[in-house]
Amino acid sequence: MSATVTTTVALNDVTVRFGDYTAVEGVSFEVPAGSFVSIVGPSGCGKSTLLNLVAGLGEPASGSVHNAVLAEGRRIGYMFQRDLLLDWRTVTQNVALGLEAQGAPRREARARAGELLPTYGLAGFEAFYPCQLSGGMRQRAAFARTMSIEPALLLLDEPFSALDYQTKLKLEAELLLGFRRSGGTAVLVTHDIDEAVAVSDVVLVMSGRPGRVAAVHEVPFAATGLAPVEVRKIDGFGHHVRAIWQEIES
Amino acid sequence: ACGSGGTPAATSANGTTTVNLSEAVHNLGYIDLYVAQHEGYFTQQGITLNLSAAGGDSQAFAAVLGGSAQFALGDATLAEISREKGGDGLVLAELVSRAQYFAVSKKISTPFTDPKQFAGLTFVTSPPPNTNHSVLTNSIVQAGLDPTKDVHITTVSPGTEIGPVLAGQADVAVAYEPNVDMAVVQDGAHVLYSWADAIGEFTNTGLQARESYVRAHPDVAQKIVTALQMGAQHVYQDPDDAKAIARTEFPNLPPQVVDAAIQRQIDNHIPAESTVVSQQGWSTLMNLGRQLGNCSCNVPFDQIIDNSFAQHASATVQGQ
């Protein structure tokens, strides 16, 4: 932690238990302000649990959690692993929920949500209810809702898992080029190593049962400001991906 | 103890007074009242009568206490009970002068000559403190029987007493009209005993009000009692007209049942002929109440009864 860069999120030797079951043990990491951190690791290793801790939705059995954004009462955008769309709201209304939750007048919120939809490939589905959407469309609506509030800290739990490659690239670009430039900080859980390497400054590799940090891998590409699709073409990209693979397999 | 004498009756522009009267039940026993209504005696007196039925004696009296009615028609014991608890109930007139109850049976056809014959039988009656229950237990006790051992008493909601008897579930119903003649006319049941005969004068139903109201509106009270007195006399003078009125008042009952019922009531002197509350009738009622523990029943006659209206009514009406 340097003196000039402030720390947005800091976990220190955190252990989480559910009853007798230890989900996460002795995890420490820091997210400097303005940086992107990805968390990768086997299914069930405690990634979502960590994200919950960061969002303040749960307390560790031991260790400490610090979240500067939360402490200052600024906005957090948390996209859960489940899409959590409200069944009784149309796509537009669901996307507007974020702004309405922050007190924006309903009309304005919905107008703004309507403007956002095309970015997320949902133009034409404004009036569809969640039960009428495909799995990927639901995920995109949830992502749009999360992004709409322009949060200071973004917590994303596998935001693109149900999307095809093209759509995923488009949204990654949106995330990186839009959100990152606005100075936001993000923690991203993903199973896609390419994605982790393409969009983040640091990749946190976890091992499971109980979840621990197996390795911390710094990646230079996100800082370049290139679109993720371009980053994937850079020469060193494959090197980093393979390095992380090895860390996972070891 | 609480407030004034209820809502004052409204006087409308044309000089008629609107009076709310709450009757405990809507029943042939109150034939005097219906005759007075149909013959227009209330209107003659300048009274617009709003009649509403309550689900029982205490509800009728509660309407008076709460002020939504000025007069109640029902078991006059309620006025007595209210007095004993510091209220100001007052009885102004008598409308049913006999215990209007008959023993009705399907199985048994020989009339009872003595309540001793009740032993071993199953009776159906309304629950205490309904008067049919009271007169039954009283007869049993008077006959030297134990009401808990020597007879079996089943209580059912008022008006349904003949059901178990006709269905063969019990021996004798202590019933009143029109149920008595329904069972007789329609189902061939037998009347075995008349408490009207056995007990004699008995203030079964009284017109009640709060004393505070009556003192504030003696004119209204007088008009009501007068109309009732006219009705009472008309019933006995023209029984056929009474029957006709009863048939229109109870259109859903078979006409022959209504006729028979009115006839039986008149034969047994059940509807009051005079609205004056008799000392004898009142003390019989009070004795019964005391025996059964319903009330201490010790308020002096002239404190709880105000016969002045009824006396004035019978004097003037007779003079007509």
Binding site: A55, L57, R75, I76, G77, Y78, F80, R82, L84, L86, D87, W88, R89, L97, G98, A101, Q102, G103, Y129, C131, Q132, I149 | S22, V25, H26, N27, N50, L51, S52, A53, A54, G55, G56, S58, Q59, A60, A62, A63, L65, G66, G67, S68, A69, S157, P158, G159, T160, I162, G163, L166, A167, P178, N179, M182, A183, Q186, D187, P251, N252, L253
Partner: protein
Amino acid sequence: MTADQELSRAAAPELPAAPRPAGRQDAAGRRHRSLWVAIVLDVVLLAIGLASWQFAVDAGSVSPLLYGSPELIWQTVVRGLGSGAMLHDAATTAVEALCGFVIGNVIGAAVGVGLWCSRLVEQMLRPAIALLGATPIAALAPIVIVWAGTGVSSKVVMSAASVVVTALVLAFDGARGTDPLQIRMLRSMGAPTRRVFRLLVLPSSLTNICGGLRLTAGLALIGAIIGEFISSDSGLGHAILIAGSLYDVPTVLANLIVVGLLSLVLLAAVGRLERVILRWRFLAMAGR
């Protein structure tokens, strides 16, 4: 219709919803047809039932005095309708029950959903609600008359009182059943309690509140009628009270049939309202 065919019902909507595979219109048609079949069967069964009842009465094996008879009931209905008395009674009772229904449900739903906001108040009110839910209003007759009088308002009060606990408990269950993850999501987006309530808890309780409307339609009518039992000068309960005390079974039954018809009307109206309020739900049932 076999049980297996019937199964499609659960996946199928109550109402034909807009977007669904065109092929499914068959299913909607089938449902519609089954409704007609049901009505016809109902009528046939009813007719058979009434005919055998009447036959038993005519043959003397069932006492018309104790149980009434279709003929007597019919005569009562004809007489009641002819004199206009029955319609007047029905109108009186309908107005009382409707007012009680609306008031009871509004209060019940408001308080029930509102209790979500404070666990303390909820725990404090819990015994009171249980007590109210187990109070037979008829038992309070004398007090009710003194408090609420004998006019229409007392029946409205009693109808509302019969409704309010059920409406309240259901609304509260609905509010409490709000997805906790969705609550956390809204909180994390910066919504204060008030807004979580308005944006999430309230709408997600609507399903239960509508369920409450359906459950309380009958209770509202019963409450109004019990109110009329306590004191009245008109209304179906008044007619039933008088007929009951005269052992006039046909009249009791005839009036009860009218009560039943009123409840069917009320339920149909509630069904319509429900389809408006829960439009998305019917879509969801229609969708995959």
